[in-house]
């Protein structure tokens, strides 16, 4: 897999969440994603950006245009240096929340994207990597 281009956006306040959505929308429409898939990617980005802000105390996102031999896609890497996630399985359950939300963010984002991965290194912080391909194999 190759990274065709990437851009970084800081997530430090709620206005940044809208900026992340706009950047993701620009890349997703550039890739000619269908309107439904664009909406799914933008919504997942919004959920994950809000997690970075609410649970991770801020961080950033890398928005990448990725390619493989026969397909292209978008990959989003959200990183924060917050306390991490104590129980990853539990965090993915719908309705589980340590914040004020509905507890749909992580599990919902996983459903909306094609690939989903959470990394919580021992040193703290959380990285969530999600991708969506234009042509599913």
């Amino acid at each position: 897999m190759t990274i065709k281009s990437q851009e970084e956006r800081a997530i430090a306040n709620e206005n940044d969440i809208a900026d992340v959505r706009n950047s993701v929308k620009r890349i997703a429409s550039l890739l000619n994603f269908s309107l439904v898939n664009q909406t799914k990617v933008i919504t997942a980005a919004s959920e994950l950006a809000r997690n970075v802000l609410e649970h991770g105390g801020g961080g950033n996102v890398l928005i990448q245009l990725i390619a493989e031999s026969n397909r292209t896609g978008i990959r989003l890497i959200f990183a924060d240096s917050g306390p991490g996630i104590a129980d990853k399985e539990q965090a993915l359950e719908d309705g589980f929340t340590t914040g004020k939300g509905m507890g749909l963010g992580l599990g919902g984002a996983r459903r909306l994207m094609d690939e989903f991965e959470i990394q919580t290194p021992d040193g703290g912080g959380t990285t969530v990597v999600v991708s969506k391909w234009l042509d599913k194999p």
């Binding site: 709620e14 206005n15 969440i17 809208a18 959505r21 929308k25 309107l35 439904v36 664009q38 909406t39 799914k40 933008i42 919504t43 919004s46 959920e47 809000r50 719908d94 939300g101 509905m102 749909l104 963010g105 599990g107 919902g108 459903r111 909306l112």
Partner: protein, 135 residues
Amino acid sequence: MERIPILKLGEILLVTIQVDFHDRSALALQEDLTQKIVDYSSKGVLIDISALEMVDSFMGRVLGNIAKTSRLLDCNTVLVGMQPAIAITITELGITLKGIHTALTAEDGIELLNTLIQNGNNGQSKVFGKRRLYL
């Protein structure tokens, strides 16, 4: 922070949510609406989201809370103009928007609100009648 305007049309309050609706303006809308419902004794709130390109769980929660709070103030909420792509996405996300009435267009929404307002009044007098029987 920009505040979202609320228009009064008889017994109904009309809100159009535009693109780039921030978290803080969403919470301010919730407060402004509840205050206006009480000030004007409004019986219905029509929320038009046709200009929104996405609804995430935060916005889903705000819309749900507006409907619940309005209900406590004897006021119905109808959400209109949801884009089909948003309906598909929020269903997959897991947002149900339980308790919120929906209509496709603002016109249909106003018609639905008028029906709800009439039925609501009948419903209340029925309950009131029953209570009197038990007394």
